[in-house]
Amino acid sequence: MYAQMVKTDGKGIKPREEMTPEEQRFQDRIDAGEKIEPKEWMPEAYRQNLIRQIGQHAHSEIVGQLPEGNWITRAPTLERKAILLAKVQDEAGHGLYLYCAAETLGVSRDELTEALLSGKMKYSSIFNYPTLNWADIGAVGWLVDGAAIMNQVPLQRTSFGPYSRAMIRICKEESFHQRQGYDIMMKMARGTPEQREMAQDALDRYWYPSLMMFGPSDKDSVHSAQSMAWKIKINTNDELRQKFVDQTVPQAKYLGLTIPDPELKWNEEKGGHDFSEPDWSEFYAVLKGNGPCNRDRLEARQNAWEDGRWFRDGLVAHAKKADARRAAARVAAE
């Protein structure tokens, strides 16, 4: 998931005795592992929360096209160009499935788009970081898609049917992306000294932002507790971050690259790595709009939308004319 800091409405989990009979039945179904389908009854807060979470995820896929799209025209071989094009196309496809999943909850894609463009809805802050050298395309696949998978695999079991199904489809493609990203890193890390330098530089810049993708610690958060009770969040942010670090450290070692954290070491007792927290003040600054690319990313999407208005209007107008002509032909035939 690329949804950080999605706050649940209300004050944490509603105690069972305060639930209406309908709410109790709903919670029982979730506890029994049943999927909730769009036409079925659901608490309004559940619906609103899902709209925000799925919408934010969809927006992230769309904005996520930009940092990678930045390198398509400069990809170093025809094959790398094709792979990158296909990847960015997949991300647009993910956006499309997710907007469709959100639409089943009664919000249109256009409404969600307007909310993104006006800044009312967020997208994952990771895409507010720039892609500065070719190894960044490797690092994004390896680390960013890797972190996304870590988040999304558990969400295949989420309680809302359309979201769960979208996650199953998306996860398959994301793991493909991660492999391709790692493959670029291998080539770079084992290439010329300049290529190794690019690879290390990419890891240095993407390591902490990738850790931030899981969001700040939420082990005491009442909001997260409600999301977990509803199974629209499955693990805590810290659990996922730990898993990600443990998975990534040996991969970096295999590449011969150094993770930019002098505190990083294996902790036998906990059976995982100890590592430094990212700088959370940077995280909040980026979230507020002060990341390196926030303005550029949003502006690129706003321009695409504004510049495309005549195109969308043209298609709508044509469809109306075609309908009218068909209707007239029917009348004439009668």
Binding site: I62, Q65, L66, G69, I72, T73, R74, A75, P76, T77, L78, E79, R80, K81, A82, L85, A86, V88, Q89, A92, G93, G95, L96, Y99, R109, W134, I184, K187, M188, G191, T192, E194, Q195, A300, N303, A304, W305, D307, G308, R309, W310, F311, R312, D313, G314, L315, V316, A317, H318, A319, K321
Partner: protein, 281 residues
Amino acid sequence: MPSLPDVMTPDAEALAKAAGNGARAPLAAGTLAHDLFTGLTRLGDNALILGHRVSEWCGHAPVLEEDIALANVALDLIGQTQLWLGLAGEVEGRGRSADNLAFLRDAWHFSNILLVERPNRDFGHTLMRQFLFDAWHQPMLKALEDSNDARIAEIAAKAGKEVAYHLERSADLVIRLGDGTEESHARMQDALERLWPWTGEAFVADDIDLRLAEAGLMPAPESLRPVWDATLTEVLSEATLTTPDSTFAHTGGKQGRHTEDMGHILSSMQWLQRAYPGATW
């Protein structure tokens, strides 16, 4: 003006040779191998440069479906580039791969038609360029399926399926936007007029084209004109657009004389390969 020093010393000659290291001696012009190599790079370069232009839209299209569709078209074109330039390298027989040809030739060795290097401008312009190209590309590939060279016929058959779909899509959008709002109509008409002088080149034969046609390897360029004309008449009239009546055509791309845009395309496309020679990616 100071007199120029005499640089034609043996040393300078050796230096010039060393500077050209890696650029192998070209095939002799006028041979069938050279003709075929050139014909194949014309096909490959059209696909590569148009694929490059289309891919510039990635993430910036007016709707999500168009982002996906454009990426599809670009992907098809890059795939076709690999096939055509791969075969060109094989025919040349000097060990150049499709990547070598794409990333290590300079502009004057590129032989795409000028139309495909025209800038994207707005989305309507991009679509019109695509349609004008597809309407030529589709019958071209159809004719290439009958090439005497089985390798050419095979690539053409594969690419032809993709391009039939490109044409269907670009023609459909040209119709819908031409016959859409006043603004979309005006934009499409403007695009048609701006691009018009760049369309004729595809049908102008040079000696290489004539010999390739003679040998039954590739169709004569003007033989594709009737199908192209028919497609345009049908689509543009349904789109309520007016076909410009000028017959003027810019030429030169097929012979390696390009527009100013070409250098900029190559300077981004080839940058990594040029900056880090010999690296693998």
